[in-house]
């Protein structure tokens, strides 16, 4: 399953500056493993033993994977994954 992964600024040191990269895998975990193979070091920034790191949000087609099946979330060909740091955001 090939998916498009959007990489936040802070992690682009691992992707040679690329904003988006392709990766494959049947689940989010497999996709992250594949990312690690092509961009060594990136996986450790995304996950720890407990799962996704606290300040890392991952969205599958704009839906937060924590409300799907987390790292076990199934991905399909052509899906888009967006990785973003958790921030306070805008006009509060």
């Amino acid at each position: 399953m090939a998916v498009e992964v959007s990489i936040p600024t802070i992690l682009r040191t691992y992707t040679g500056g690329a904003k988006g990269v392709e990766a494959s895998g049947a689940t989010l975990k497999a996709v992250i493993d594949d990312l690690e193979a092509s961009h060594p070091g990136i996986a450790e920034r995304l996950v720890d033993e407990a799962g996704l790191r606290r300040f890392v949000n991952v969205y599958l087609n704009d839906e937060d994977v924590r409300f799907l099946s987390g790292l076990d979330t199934e991905v399909s060909d052509g899906d888009s994954l967006t990785i973003l740091p958790a921030v306070a955001g805008g006009s509060r």
């Binding site: 600024t9 890392v56 704009d62 839906e63 937060d64 409300f67 967006t82 740091p85 921030v87 805008g90």
Partner: protein
């Protein structure tokens, strides 16, 4: 119309209006909770007043006090109004990349504005405010991201008002910032209607906002409790702007851009209900009107591309 002893007493009690043109079918209906009808024009009047009153009640806030708050707009504007009427000084810390109207509104109600760097967005405003707080121990930081009175305002107000107007509600959709609206109204509605879906629409900004120096600078509001939510969507600027314009064109509602993001998630829920063949009554929050965003050019842009370009680099929600 209802009569109130003063402006502060009139916070809340906002109308819920149907959206006959945007609702996909007679069985799957969208309802807008018009929070722009609050005294300063946004949903933030509710938590702002609740936080001030809670601090007065517990003795933290006494006459002549200075209130300090990190805010890029609406909460600050609400606090400024309440502070003026109640006789407090207000200092707001706001990211420098917010619309000009916000500074004007804050100063109009007598607030002082201190700017935090654009990079890092509200995270940075929170950090700067915490610094100023430590230098001024006698100032009172209400801190909307961690103040339970924020949740309480929606648990006591927004939630019950919506359920009273829409007993058949199946979905509640709101923006995710401090998380107060979703945590408060969401928790109330879930208690009353265990099967309800509580859906968060989280604005996704331009890259500037996410340009942290390291991931540990990330921020999750202390109020956030994921167990209240059914799901959470990230909505980018293009979809937010598109829906904001659609809400104006089709239903005549002139809302701010964060409302477009919320409507986008609400329409997603409506599509799912249609596909599943089940009826749905979907209530969502109109956070504020479009007035404060006019200068961005989003509303009169010739097309969607121009509208999206108009808010590039802005904190639009």
């Amino acid at each position: 119309m209802t009569r109130y002893p003063s402006l502060l007493d009139s916070v809340g009690h906002t109308p819920l209006v149907g959206l006959p043109r945007l609702s996909p079918s007679p069985d799957v209906r969208l309802w807008a909770k018009l929070e722009d009808r609050n005294p300063t024009g946004s949903v933030k009047d509710r938590p702002a007043l609740a936080m001030v009153e809670a601090a007065e009640a517990d003795g933290t806030l006494t006459p002549g006090c200075t209130i300090l708050e990190p805010t890029s707009g609406n909460t600050g504007i609400s606090l400024a109004m309440a502070a003026r009427l109640k006789g407090y000084r207000l200092v707001c810390v706001m990211p420098e990349n917010t619309s000009a109207e916000r500074t004007q509104l804050l100063r109009m109600w007598g607030a002082e504005v201190r700017y935090s760097p654009a990079a890092g967005g509200s995270n940075e405003a929170v950090r700067v405010a915490k610094e100023i707080a430590s230098e001024n121990p006698d100032w009172v930081m209400l801190y909307q991201y961690g103040n339970p009175a924020n949740i309480d305002a929606h648990y006591r107000g927004t939630g019950p008002e919506i359920l009273a107007d829409l007993p058949t509600i199946t979905h509640f959709v709101a923006g995710l910032g401090t998380t107060g609206t979703l945590m408060g109204a969401g928790r109330y509605l879930r208690e009353q209607k265990p099967d309800i879906s509580i859906v968060a629409a989280e604005p996704r900004y331009g890259e500037l906002v996410y340009g942290l120096r390291n991931l540990d600078e990330g921020f999750v509001p202390e109020l956030y409790d994921a167990s209240v939510l059914t799901t959470r969507y990230s909505v980018g600027p293009r979809d937010a702007v598109r829906r904001t314009r659609q809400l104006l064109d089709e239903e005549g509602i002139f809302a701010g851009i964060s409302t477009g993001a919320i409507l986008h998630a609400a329409l997603g829920m409506a599509t799912k209900a249609i596909k599943a063949g089940v009826p749905a009554d979907i209530a969502f929050i109109v956070c504020d009107g479009g007035w404060k965003y006019l200068s961005t050019g989003v509303y009169d842009a010739t097309d969607l591309d121009a509208a999206e370009a108009a808010i590039e680099g802005q904190l639009w929600a």
